[in-house]
């Protein structure tokens, strides 16, 4: 659980950690029923129907909205984030 929550960038309380550990075990236990299905030569369906790639011309288009309009952390024309190291 420690590894999973670290990967997910979630800081769990002790209570959450013990609750989620048990629930994860229960849910994954129930999901193991999938092993009963023979999927030997079956292709995975990433989408419900075949979806083909759609291309557009590689040309810049102007948009009329401000991407910084919803942030409190900005400086000039840039987003401001936490330090990297």
């Amino acid at each position: 659980m420690e590894r999973v929550s670290k990967n997910a960038r979630l800081k769990l309380s002790e209570e959450e950690t013990s609750k989620f550990t048990q629930q994860l075990k229960d849910v994954l236990g129930a999901f193991k029923s999938l092993d009963e299905v023979d999927t030997g030569n079956v292709k995975p369906s990433f989408h419900p129907q075949e979806i083909s790639d759609v291309y557009r011309e590689d040309k810049a288009e102007k948009f009329d909205w401000d991407p910084l309009s919803n942030t409190k952390h900005k400086e000039g024309k840039y987003f401001k984030g936490p330090r990297i190291v």
Partner: protein
């Protein structure tokens, strides 16, 4: 001016002719919506002032409510989560643009389980909508606010909703309204806050099948902004409502009656017999992989959700904290503060299912089982026009019953809706009767892009009496 029990069709004709005054109507709508909000809490945001329609299009003067995971320019959009509190999109989703361009006006943003994570609209950061038929009971989820408001509003209105695993059908069944989930890709997802990209579909909850057909004609069609949008020309779905159902072949999947409340089974069979009386024929059919659909669905949905929710990091929009610590510490602090319990649970599950060493056993396996489930449906649709089943195994549960459910018991409530959602086929829930005074939904499912057929069968019930 009498607006009560006025159908959308009649309303649109009367406002067009000038028989109904738009100012009087909007005042009536605002006043009533405020009192509905106080009593049943269907909205996260109810607009202060209505933006009057600029164009006299096909929906001129019609109030629209929009599920809060669909972006609306200038109106707060939270997807039911604290992590998006205060987010005001600088653009509107394509479906919203289409509706507004036809003269409809936005009334507000409806309540939902956080990011769509729930079956009962109880995982809500901004208050729980109450079922207008019994306020001790759930409206269903995750489009609970949409179904609540549709059921209780006494004036013409259409709700834009969204389904990933049953979030339109379930609330429609629990509130006695009509809910359509279209074929995956028929309605553009551009401007929708993603839960699971390969499963999300924008659809409708209304009082009548006509309202669905009319609104679908406006929101369906290709959109270059959504690369998964199907290349199908938009067309008029109301034309299917003029046809009768003589000679239609209805399949009844036997697995969809296992574990269903006996009284609900009876209501559904009565509805199927009614379809037979109207000239359709029916036969039982088997969809053998149904029992694996719940596990396959949840693994795929949480895996996709856990990657989609990675973008909520307190930098560009939504919840912000003081910039403190390194990026790991800051992002973790924002996410741990902003996400609710069910969101955290699904992120944990999805992150696990995609991790090295487990990916093949869970995520890839689930995608292969999904192929088998789609094949079951494809085989059935070679024989039948439409499949008919109960929408939900129970009627709307009481809140005190929901509280006692464990996560896995909770997920099991979706057992009848996840398979068609995995397959991306269109489905509609229509009220078919009542059990213990609560409505029961009949679920009609069609092959990909066969919305016309399910609307045709659904319409034979003549649901809206007025």
């Amino acid at each position: 001016m009498k607006l009560e029990k006025l159908s959308v069709k009649e309303f649109l004709a009367r406002i067009k002719s000038g028989d109904i005054d738009l100012d009087d109507f909007t005042a009536h709508v605002m006043e009533n919506s405020k009192s509905i909000q106080k009593k049943y809490n269907p909205f996260i945001t109810l607009v202060d002032k209505i933006q009057k329609p600029k164009k006299k299009g096909k929906l001129y003067g019609l109030p629209i409510s929009i599920k809060d995971n669909i972006c609306t320019k200038g109106i707060q959009t939270t997807a039911g989560s604290r992590i998006l509190e205060g987010y005001t999109p600088p653009f509107s989703a394509s479906c919203v643009e289409n509706i507004v361009n036809e003269g409809a006006f936005i009334l507000g943003k409806t309540a939902m389980d956080e990011f769509g994570f729930g079956t009962f609209s109880v995982n809500c950061a901004y208050g729980i909508p109450k079922n207008p038929l019994d306020t001790e009971r759930s409206c269903g989820g995750s489009s609970g606010g949409a179904s609540c408001f549709t059921a209780v509003a006494d004036f013409p209105h259409v709700a834009l909703a969204e389904s990933t695993g049953g979030s339109i059908s379930c609330p429609a069944a629990f509130t006695g309204t009509v809910g359509l989930t279209p074929t995956y890709g028929l309605v553009s997802r551009w401007g929708l806050i993603d839960y699971a990209n390969s499963l999300d579909k924008i659809g409708l909850i209304t009082k009548s099948v006509y309202d669905i057909a009319l609104s679908l004609s406006i929101i369906a069609g290709n959109d270059s902004k959504d690369s998964t949008s199907l290349n199908v020309p938009a067309h008029d779905y109301t034309k299917y409502l003029k046809k009768d159902i003589k000679g239609m072949k209805i399949g009844v999947p036997k697995e969809y009656f296992e574990g269903v409340d006996g009284k609900i089974t009876k209501v559904i069979w009565n509805a199927i017999k009614k379809l037979e009386d109207l000239g359709a024929t029916y036969k039982e059919v088997s969809l053998p992989h149904t029992k694996y659909s719940l596990s396959a669905y949840y693994i795929i949905a949480v895996s996709e959700a856990s990657t989609n929710l990675a973008k909520y990091a307190g930098m560009r929009y939504g919840l912000h904290l003081e910039l403190k610590g390194n990026f790991d510490e800051y992002f973790s602090a924002v996410r741990s503060n902003g996400f609710g319990e069910e969101a955290k649970r699904r992120i944990i599950l999805g992150t696990f299912a995609r991790m090295a060493g487990y990916r093949d056993a869970y995520y890839l396996k689930a995608l292969k089982v999904r192929t088998k489930i789609i094949e079951d449906f494809k085989k059935a649709f070679k024989q039948f026009d439409v499949l008919a089943a109960p929408t939900m195994p129970v009627v709307a549960p009481r809140f005190d019953e929901i509280e006692k459910l464990s996560p896995i018991e909770n997920y099991m409530m979706d057992v009848l809706t996840v398979a068609p959602n995995l397959a991306g086929i269109p489905m509609i829930s229509v009220p078919a009767g009542k059990v213990n005074n609560m409505p029961v939904g009949l679920h009609l499912m069609g092959d990909h892009l066969q919305e016309g057929k399910i609307l045709q069968v659904a319409n034979s019930f003549k649901i809206q009496k007025y």
